[in-house]
Homo-oligomer: 350 residues x 2
């Protein structure tokens, strides 16, 4: 079966290619009729022929001629990370509804790959980019904005006036985590973070500290910094837990999913139990948070909101309608206190 072009349709319908083009690009108005300068009867015929022949617009040709691609690119730092996978799912849905096609790619935290990906998607004439930058990605992204391609940053920030931004307030998230534990009556609250913190982590740490200070617990601030490498990190956390009760520690803020997993592992190894020996506020999502009794409080990023805002902002930027104020969106994280697979989560905001 060979390709059906606009000419085939035109010939078969007995009209010019122009007419066919008009019809194929017409949007259906509110009254259900096509809003294009074509006789409705003719339009109907064209539509029928197109369908009969199985015509499909050749995107390459349309894009080449019009300069528009109705395509955006989404580049995340790791598409296998459930957080990013969810973001991609949402973005794909939203874009699809808005008539945009999405090209996804994963930079795998590699600035060089990011740079080549950027070249590729530029070649696709994408109208805009949504990027979760990897470390060192500044150069590649500078290139994109220099070309005048609207770009929205998510998850991580990097400098640059032209970027749109949809970021979660991580200071607030860390603050909320600690504050919740304080409200529960705990005072000796410790936090376990990484040695080499990225901005998002540093912000969460700052939030924890702010909450502690605000509640007169300045002297109880205890911030651990573990190795990033897994085996080492596991050991570090076990050490921290081994001596924790001696210090009178009652609760932990665990600012990433992985750190939380290390903590659960340590509980296992030391035969400790969650509500009895310690309280946790974890981050992100895990089956184990839900299956614990009671549910482990955890802080999640509003994935749907991130995707919505990122796409809408990008569209505004594409249409050159984004004001400077709109170009920086800050979202609140949420504290999840209950609910599990199948049930609506119980959400709180402090």
């Amino acid at each position: 079966m060979k390709k059906v072009t606009i000419r085939d349709v035109a010939r078969e319908a007995g009209v010019s290619v122009t007419l066919v083009s008009f019809v194929m690009n017409a949007k259906v108005g509110k009254d259900g009729r096509l809003d294009c300068p074509v006789n409705p009867v003719t339009a109907e015929r064209v539509l029928k022929v197109a369908k009969k022949l199985g015509y499909r617009r050749n995107h390459a040709a349309a894009s080449l001629r019009s300069g528009r691609s109705h395509t955006i690119a989404v580049i995340v730092s790791d598409i296998a990370n459930p957080f990013f996978a969810e973001i991609c799912r949402s973005l794909e849905n939203i874009s699809y509804k808005a008539g945009y096609t999405v090209i996804f790619a994963s930079s795998d935290e590699n600035p060089e790959k990011l740079s080549r990906l950027v070249d590729t998607v530029i070649g696709y004439n994408v109208e805009g980019l949504i990027v979760a930058p990897c470390l060192g990605g500044e150069v590649a992204l500078k290139k994109v904005v220099d070309l005048g391609i609207p770009t929205v940053l998510i998850d991580r920030d990097i400098p640059g006036k032209e970027f749109g931004r949809v970021l979660v307030d991580n200071l607030d998230a860390g603050y909320m985590a600690a504050k919740y534990l304080i409200h529960q009556g705990f005072g000796k609250i410790e936090m376990i973070s990484y040695q080499s913190g990225v901005t998002s982590l540093l912000d969460r740490e700052a939030g924890y500290q702010k909450a502690m200070e605000e509640s007169g617990l300045h002297d109880d601030i205890y911030l651990h910094r573990i190795a990033y490498e897994a085996e080492e990190a596991k050991k570090n956390v076990i050490e921290i837990f081994r001596s924790a009760s001696k210090r009178g520690c009652e609760a932990f803020v665990l600012p990433t999913k992985k750190i939380s997993m290390y903590a659960f592992n340590a509980l296992n190894v030391l035969r400790l139990n969650l509500p009895k020996d310690f309280s946790f506020v974890c981050f992100d999502d895990s089956d184990i948070y839900d299956l614990n009794k009671p549910v482990v409080p955890h802080i999640v990023q509003p994935i749907g909101d991130i995707a919505d805002n990122a796409f809408n902002l990008l569209r505004k930027m594409i249409d050159k309608k984004a004001t400077e104020a709109e170009k920086h969106v800050s979202l609140h994280a949420q504290l999840v206190l209950g609910g599990s697979f199948g049930s609506e989560p119980t959400v709180a905001t402090f």
Copy 2:
């Protein structure tokens, strides 16, 4: 900053567009030099000019003219499902290395959306498709093969001679799960599945039954079929567990991650413990399998292999080099017995 075309490069380098095209499409041979009929000195100059001007091939134009897009589409049934997210990640990596760009999309188990997605990607002149079909996706996919677009099925099978297939042997997977428990000395092994089973589940059930029969446990086969809806399913599973010990049941095969989660939930609700009261073999991946002591045996699909095989098969089909025998790849699932975040998993095959 405006676009740089091949003509700009040609003018600046003082050569014809043909030359530039040759150079830009040349592959670097083993000896490090470009394999194209161009004077190396000229080529060098062209390359330098192209770089200076920031030339990037216009993909739409190239694709329009050549009919090739170096693009494949991957359509999964739910991109937020970690299994598919991992598949996508692997596919993106492999394709990228092979010089292919991937368009991802998610049909969200909706045949209509699948159909529209198919239309869209066909318009992109994709050279091939990798699809995890959703229920009712037959029609849309028939359209694709009718157009002669090479298509590889993963995860689920649907009829059709033209499809390539990379599927996991689910019968084998179910067999392995039951066999492992039998080897552990259990006899009263039950399985919890859904009422409305898709093929993959039915195969796993058949595998369980085969293993039981083979070991002379035909009379102990007990296959529960719970509701698909979450709240209902949760209750069903709790009921099953409540009466299980009275029946003398010792172990369960839990053929999906969700069913496994319901089972863990039931343990919680009924205050039962895993090694003491029952043994499980679960499916897929979950933090909770790893954090249990000992690790909960679980069966995983070989994601990397699926992606590798799917892409390689697709390439062969694109190049029309796939024999009929090669068009059906069957992969073995793996039984994971140990290891957790940061450590290599311990894998066994029966």
